[in-house]
Every structure is written in C-alpha cells, then in structure tokens.
Symmetry: C2
Subunit: 349 residues, 2 copies
DNA sequence: CTGAAAGCGCTTACAG
DNA sequence: CTGAAAGCGCTTACAG
C-alpha cells in the first residue's frame, strides 16, 4: 500500500499470467477463459489496481478528451449550463472535458489552445456567452472545432447558435395572441454592433408584426444596452409617449427587471396594466420577479450537447462549408402576459 | 503536413542530433551549445513540432492536472467564479483543470473520481455551491483533496469556506452604523438544517447586536428559504408587526429582491423609508435592483484560488488535523442603506 | 485461450 | 556539450 501503485506487470506476476492477458481482462475482450478472468480480477481487486490512463493514451493515441474554451464570460451565469450540457453528452461517450476560462487575454487563449493540442484533445469547443462574431486562435484549425453561441470571421468553423429571429418572433407572437397591437420593443444592444443577439431578435419582432398585419411603428422601438437601468429608462420613455404601448418585449430579462421598477413607480401592475416578455430565461431574475417573467429561453445546455455531439459524429475535414446549426429558443410561460387592459375611467385619450 | 505529426525522433533525425539533445532544447536545459539549440529550434519550427504531453506525463509521472468536481450546482451562478479563481491560480503553476459537473448522482461522482485518478490528477477540488456538510466519494482519500464551500463528515479533508459569521456581523454592523436599532433578519434557510450558511449569518447578526448593546428581539427574526417569494412574504409580515423594523438583513440577495416588491406595494422607498442589506452579491440581482443593493460578497474566486494553492503547496499526508480556512466576505456598498427615517406625520405610534 | 515482444514519445542518467 | 540506451505502463499483432 505504501509502495508505488501496482502496474499491469505487477498484476500479471501476482496472477501468474502474461500482461497481455491482464490487458484483455481489463478491456473486457472476449478471448479469455472464465477462470483466468476471475483470477486476474481477484488479484486486481486485492492489489487495488487502477489503470494508468496516460499509458493507454500513448499507446492507443486516443485522449478521450475534449477542450472547452470560454470567451468573455465575465459575469454571465450561462457558462455553467453550457458546460453541463457539453459534459452530459461527453460522459455518454466516455470522454472528459478540459475547461479553460480564456476570458480576456488573447495570449492566454493561444497558449490554452496549444496546451490542449499537446494534450491530444480530440476536439475543441469554443464558447461565447452571447451570439456574436469572434476571432479565434489560428491553431484551432489543427483540431476539430465547434463554436458555440458565436461564429468566426469567414465562418470557417462549424457552429451552433440560438435562433434569435425565431425567438424574437415567438416573444412577439405571445403578446399578439393576447390582443396587444402596440408592443414596445427594446433591443438588447445597440443595433450598430450588428450582433445577431440584437439584430435578430428585432427581426423576429418585425416578422411577427408583419404576419399579424400590424404595421411596424418606429416610435415603439428603443435600442437598449441589456442592463436593468436601460430597461428602466426606456420603459418610462415609451410610456411617456402618445399612444403608449400596452405590452413590452425586452431583449434581456435584466431590462425587463428594470422595467418592473418603472411600472411600479407609475402604479402600473403587471400583467393587468401592462404585459411583458423578456429574453434569456435567467432563472434568478425571471422567477424572482413579481409576477414571474414570461421569457424566451436560450438553449445553452442544448448547444453544449450539440457541440460535443458534432465533434463526436462529424468526420473531420468533411463538413465544408462548415455547418451553422440554429437551435430553437423556447418560450417559458410564467405570469407577465395578460390581455390588453380595457380603457377605464381616468384614461387620457 | 498530411503525414502523422512529427515526434522528437523526427526532429532529431532532421537536425542531425540525438533525441536527448532535442529534449534538452525543448526543456530549456542549460547544457546545449547555442548553435545546436538554434538549429534544433529551426527544425522544430519548420516541421511544426508539438510535444506530446502524454509521453511526457508517462515518463515524468507528472500530469500537471487537477480535478474540479462540482456538487449540486443546479441553478447557481457561482460555479463559474469558483472555476475562474481556481484556474487563474492553476495557470500560474502551469497546471490544467479537468472540470466535472457531478451534480446529482452519487454513481456519477464515484466514477468521476475514479477517472480523475486514472488520469493521474495531482489533486482534486470538490466544490459545493453553498456552505454545508457533504458526503464525498471514498476514493478521494487516495489523492490530495480540498473541499470548497463545504466540509466532510468527520472533517477529514482540508477545506475553504466563507466566514459566514463575520459576514453576518458586517451586514448588521452596517445597518447599526446608520442608526438602525430595529433590524429585521430573515435567514437564508431553515435553521434546523444546521447549515453554516443559515446558522452562521444569524450568529453574526446576534454578535453585532450584542456588541452594540442592542438586545436581540425574537420578534424580528424569520426563517426564510432563500428565494424571492420568501423575502417578499416575510418583509410584509415583519412590516405588519407592532414596532416594525426600520432595516432588514436578508440571508440572500434573492430574498432582498422579493422584499423590494413588498416595499413597493406599500409605497415604501429604499433607502429613505427602509434600509436593506443582502448576502451573496449576485451581480445580476444586486446591480439591477433600484436602488442597487448593498450586500455581502461570497468569496468564490478567492476560495477557488486558495484551493488550488493549498493543493500546490501543502505536502500531502501532512496536514492533520486538516485545515479549515475561513475567508472573509467583504461588504459591497451600493445604495440600499440610509439613516433611520424620522417619524413623520401619519405615523401610527 | 495465452504469452512474449514490440513500440507509442518522451526524459534521464551514463558515458564519452 | 552530446549521443545511445533504458524505461514509464499500457495495447496489439503474432505465434503457439
């Protein structure tokens, strides 16, 4: 016990067989006499044998390892969902995940990719925390790679992203279904960024409006920043307008949260006086709001799963042009949407 | 290029030297003629050589790898901060982190530990998402281990946890400093659980009160569940009492968030009418509240860093009794604490 | 069904 | 300063 850990040699010697036989038992190969197998297993048990993975890796050339690189995570709580989904799929295939938070520094990222390659990873997942274009380390081309919630300049890698447009459409449709026609929309970022997370959700909003025969009204649109202050400010602003919206679609749950405070200040109740749909499905916010927020979920776990699955099943060097897979963003119904309020006494119009 | 990747042998042959020399260059050993070094480096460059880590690992016996196991993460956004801190320290020491979300299933956890050991990890970090007692896989005893935000039955492992008591004390002191004497406290879990996260914060509250000469009043205490509804309900309840509190200390930011809604319903403004301190420093909540929430930060990144550092520096088998390190929980001032309101017209008393 | 041998790609004494 | 050789712990044909 105090000595060094037993190798396959030690087991072979102790069991009076060859190392090849021990290896066969270890790998549950067929051609082993039942008696021999039992004997070897007993010895392994007794000596507390554990195979050394590094030796196996070196001999077979298979690392059974994937790299998982996160980009610009900072404060988002999404990373874990992504890792969780990726790992669940990896475990099914008996693979492990080397996770690297490559937040920030480009040098760190390059180094991380180099380390991963030296460790023989069978593939790398490069995950961003919101849907945008990224510049990835060049060495990523040396190994199968899939991008998550982002895409590379030139789209030279397979990627999996949320279907922002469809998400925006569903959010808007939900509001339309309850009779709303004047629906305020606050984007989750400045449109000039070109981020699909901003542009796409708005596009979905417009599509839904068009499909319902409701003309798009520029006066109902605001470009937000994603954070609570922005939602608070634009909610007030929109409500101050002539013919204000009866419902709001916010590009993030955080903005919806800010708006709740604006509504409270005006004595407006959700969803009786005003309806709201968010985007992201950040549980800690959406569940904690009163009433809880109806929102669009980002498919983080599903994207993580898809990424690993793609690495596992897509033959490398084969998918040109690289695939971009869009995953649906399901709506999560909670309590923030209701019918259009009937104009009661005290109305201004 | 299309051939298999070059090994140290290929480099040696191409450079007309022995493999030992290439190895020396690779590892930046002293005894190499400058000219030889340059030649070898040129060849490595030209052939795109990358060392194979598995071979190095096998030969040296050092995996330069730590395992990171998370326990019961579910929805908390803390995991990432922890990983980030651990990884930052690991990178300094040229180590990598194998992250495993062992949420839920005990079998998965056992298997994960076995896999990690087979991969030759130099240590394992087992992290919980809130401070409580855990049952860990027995195999953890085979390898240096440190527990984060939890401790094992029998305290047989080193661990690093938040100083809950001190955090509770600081929260309360902050309120006392602004003149509050009637401070409502809502614990973040039922006290019967015995969780340090619940019991400790309350203890700190009592200590601060005692130090300030303010008698503890049971009527001001409620046992919460940690979520927003709980904060909302108890805030109303406490405010309905005779001689209600002028300030609140909530065991979680989520409860504080729920309370904000209760205050709004009563037309109470934070911090003019009522002061609030939370616990956890969940940015997405604390920053998004209006006004932003003053709260106590859990030292997740610091705990992650400490854990890796301990693994790196503590000689194994040497620290008996195992160390339990308590890390401070700094207060984060935002805008939810103000002076005691002067009793104005309309008061009931 | 089973054993002996080769070899994966490194590092490390050991000679020279 | 440098080369040849051994060996880390496995798996995989190859004989028998």
């Amino acid at each position: 016990m105090a000595a060094r850990k037993p190798s396959i040699q030690d087991i072979a010697r102790a069991a009076g067989v060859g190392v090849g036989t021990v290896s066969r038992v270890l790998n549950e190969r067929p051609n082993v006499a039942e008696e021999t197998r039992a004997k070897v297993e007993r010895v392994m048990q007794r000596l507390g044998y554990r195979p050394t993975f590094a030796a196996r890796h070196m001999r077979t050339g298979r690392s059974q390892l994937f790299g998982f690189l996160t980009d610009q995570v900072t404060t988002t709580p999404f990373a874990h969902e992504l890792i969780k989904g990726a790992q669940a799929r990896a475990r099914q295939a008996d693979r492990m995940l080397m996770v690297i938070d490559a937040d920030g520094d480009d040098r760190v990222r390059e180094q991380a990719v180099a380390n991963l390659i030296e460790r023989g990873v069978e593939g790398i997942i490069y995950a961003a925390m919101f849907h945008h274009e990224v510049h990835v380390p060049a060495a990523l081309h040396e190994v199968p790679t899939v991008l998550v919630d982002c895409y590379a300049v030139g789209r030279t890698f397979a990627s999996v992203v949320p279907d922002e447009v469809r998400g925006g459409r569903e959010a808007t449709e939900r509001l339309l279904a309850d009779g709303h026609r004047r629906i305020g929309m606050v984007t989750n970022d400045v449109l000039a960024t070109g981020y699909p997370a901003a542009v796409g959700r708005l596009e979905g909003y417009k599509e839904a409006l068009a499909a319902a025969g409701v003309p798009f009204d520029e006066a109902l649109l605001r470009e937000g920043t994603g954070n609570a202050d922005s939602g608070y400010g634009w909610a007030h602003d929109l409500l101050d307008a002539d013919d204000p919206p009866t419902a709001f679609f916010f590009g993030t749950d955080r903005m919806a949260m800010g708006a709740y405070f604006a509504f409270a200040e005006r004595g407006l109740t959700v969803p009786d006086d005003v309806s709201v749909v968010g985007f992201d499905d950040q549980h800690y916010i959406a569940d904690a709001l009163r009433p809880a927020l109806t929102t669009i979920a980002l498919p983080h776990a599903a994207m993580g799963r898809w990424a690993v699955d793609h690495l596992l099943t897509a033959p490398w060097g084969d998918d040109r042009p690289p695939l971009q897979r869009r995953l649906p963003c399901p709506i999560v119904e909670r309590g923030s949407v209701g019918p259009v309020p009937t104009r009661a006494e005290g109305e201004e119009a």
